[in-house]
């Protein structure tokens, strides 16, 4: 068996499929199917594309309910669970806070503007009665961006497994799902990005199966008067959460790993204790670049 690599770009970041197969035809055909699945999810859930389902739902805010397909219903049910289990921190309606925060401007938002945008945040007010969703107020938005990439990793992995690929991995913007160890049984060595020195890993983790996802404060942020403001916004206050610089979580599904790492970041000071109690293997990097957690 030989290793075939397929790098590409999707969902705003670099991605790669690394597949072991008997020959190139098998590997390429699995890779093509996986990429098609990722493209399908990107087109359906992108909020930038005018004909995406997300855009349709957001355009109908304050108006009629929109009927969604089974897969979308599953994703909304999942988002609902994540909202409940995170005490409201994981909220797919919080994307509108972008209207107040411009991370390229170098300026903090006016509190008045932030307060008015906060009126539009709140998954608990969304009328979600599967398969119908209705956003109650004009201007409200939902955004699958907080978890659809991790889901796409799992979905692409499933496509590859069904194509008979038993050794390899799927990676999208640092989020990973392992199809199986190297053919000799050895684990994949996965580097976790250093939150400050972005060209080097802060840790290397051996993975034989399952998923790994990382959330960090370095993906989008600005410095104002020497203070760091990251894009991870608390949906209750509208202000960035500071305390952890990055969290990586290992779970069977990359989707779960991603949600748990996001929630841990949003929990701020309480994130470390929450991770420890949840029991999934994890690694955190705090603001002083101290590393800890069960994977460290």
């Amino acid at each position: 068996m030989q290793l075939y690599r397929f790098p590409f770009k999707a969902m705003g970041g670099p991605c790669e499929l690394r597949l072991y197969a008997e020959n190139e035809v098998r590997a390429s055909s699995a890779a093509a199917d996986a990429r098609q699945r990722i493209t399908q999810l990107e087109q359906r859930y992108s909020r930038y594309q005018p004909d995406s389902l997300t855009t349709q739902i957001n355009m109908a805010a304050g108006d009629k309910p929109v009927k969604v397909d089974t897969e979308t219903a599953g994703l909304l049910d999942y988002a609902d669970q994540a909202y409940i289990q995170s005490d409201g921190l994981f909220d797919i309606t919080s994307g509108v806070l972008r209207r107040a925060w411009d991370f390229r401007s170098g300026h903090l938002p006016e509190q008045q503007l932030l307060d008015s945008v906060l009126q539009l945040v709140g998954w608990d007010r969304v009328e979600w009665q599967s398969p119908f969703i209705r956003l109650p107020d004009r201007g409200m938005e939902i955004d699958f961006g907080g978890f659809v990439k991790e889901y796409a990793v799992d979905a692409a992995a499933r496509v590859c497994r069904e194509a008979g690929i038993a050794h390899g991995l799927i990676e999208m913007g640092g989020d990973i799902q392992i199809l199986g160890p190297h053919p000799d049984g050895s684990a994949w060595q996965v580097g976790i990005q250093h939150p400050r020195k972005l060209d080097r890993p802060v840790a290397t983790i051996a993975l034989e199966s399952g998923g790994l996802a990382t959330s960090g404060d370095y993906e989008r942020y600005m410095l104002v008067d020497g203070e760091r403001y990251a894009h991870l916004l608390n949906p209750a206050t509208g202000w960035p959460v500071n305390s952890l610089a990055g969290v990586s979580v290992k779970a069977e599904q990359t989707l779960i790993a991603g949600t748990v790492s996001t929630i841990a970041m949003l929990k701020g000071e309480a994130g470390r204790a929450w991770l420890a109690q949840l029991g999934l293997p994890h690694l955190w990097v705090d603001a002083d670049i101290q590393v800890g957690g069960s994977l460290s």
């Binding site: 699945r37 999810l41 089974t70 897969e71 599953g74 994703l75 049910d77 999942y78 609902d80 669970q81 994540a82 409940i84 289990q85 995170s86 889901y151 796409a152 799992d154 979905a155 499933r158 497994r161 069904e162 008979g164 038993a166 199986g180 000799d184 049984g185 050895s186 069977e252 599904q253 989707l255 779960i256 949600t259 748990v260 929450w274 109690q277 949840l278 029991g279 999934l280």
Partner: protein
Amino acid sequence: MARRHANALLALTSSALALPGISSKSHAASPAAESQVDYRYSSYSEDDLSRSKTSNPDTRRYEIDTHQFRLVRPWGDEYDVTVDLLYETMSGASPWFITPGANNQPIQVMSGATIDETRIDMLASLRRYYGNETYGVSLGVSDEDDYQSINLGVEAQWDIDEQQRSYSLGIGYSDDDLEPTDGASAAFPDRISDASKDSLTAYAGVTQIINAQTTVQSSISFTRHDGFLSDPYKLAFVNGTTTNDSRPDGREQFAWFTRFRHFFTNLRAALHLDYRYFEDDWDITSHTAEAAWYQNLGDGWQVVPSIRFYSQSQAFFYAPFYGQARTDGFASSDYRLSPYGALSMRFKVSKAWAGWKLSMSWEEYDSDAGHAIGDVDVENPGLVDFSVISFGISKRF
């Protein structure tokens, strides 16, 4: 606090598993992706009989050495093939008949000569995976000096994605021929020279995934045996003399089997609970309950302590010995038809690395009338205690 957080993970996982990109076919059966070869050696050794329970000067019993090979190989995209081979050598003495001793206390008489036997067993099965459906056929043969058997089986399984459930159905048929050693010989003129029997089994089962950590499986099976079901080597003591072991020539059995599996994510451990109920038209009812704890220790190490409890009632025609012959002519003093209970404990340790897996296990089995549910008037003196030690090695490639 910890409990609530553990539930958070459970809640997220069950929502995630309902997603088509994650679940659906991920639990549907699929052909083996890799080949695997297993070898296991087991040494089974029965404890000596206690002096007070046997008339024989030599109290040693059975020992069995077993070598098992298994090969699983994918064949194309839709099939896999499994071949099982077993080679066994048996030696020792086994219970022959029971006589009444002083105060009618039963005394076991063991077969005098040492029995030496070998058994070869081969089973080949082919499975086809077709979307959410799996079909299998199997053919097996078994050969001993005094016994030949051929068996056939077909089975089907359906996975229902939306309900995270699968159903299975199967039937099996077995045709057995016996030619007892020394049958109808000068030494054993009453022992039959040859006989045959056949068995038909049908079963149906359902497996339900409750959530990512929990599954429950339940099945029922019905088996009918026809033909010579007695033990040609055993005798029964009736009215002061011995007579051939004699049982009905038909037996219908019903069994209900349920397994529960729960994985504790935080502990990296799994609890397996199994229960089996059995009854047949010889009036035997039995209960088997087993609990096993699979603990992963990291670095490929796993330890599995387990405990099993068994209890059965007696066959309607069984007696340790008979004052006078039964009107139906049946007679058997086989301890396997007697009322008794058993407790066994097993400990297994294994280590996996780079496609290899080594394992070792040790089991102690103790049967006793005192372990039975309900009172047993007379304990069969032939009840067996044994220990089994096994070593296994397997390789995926």
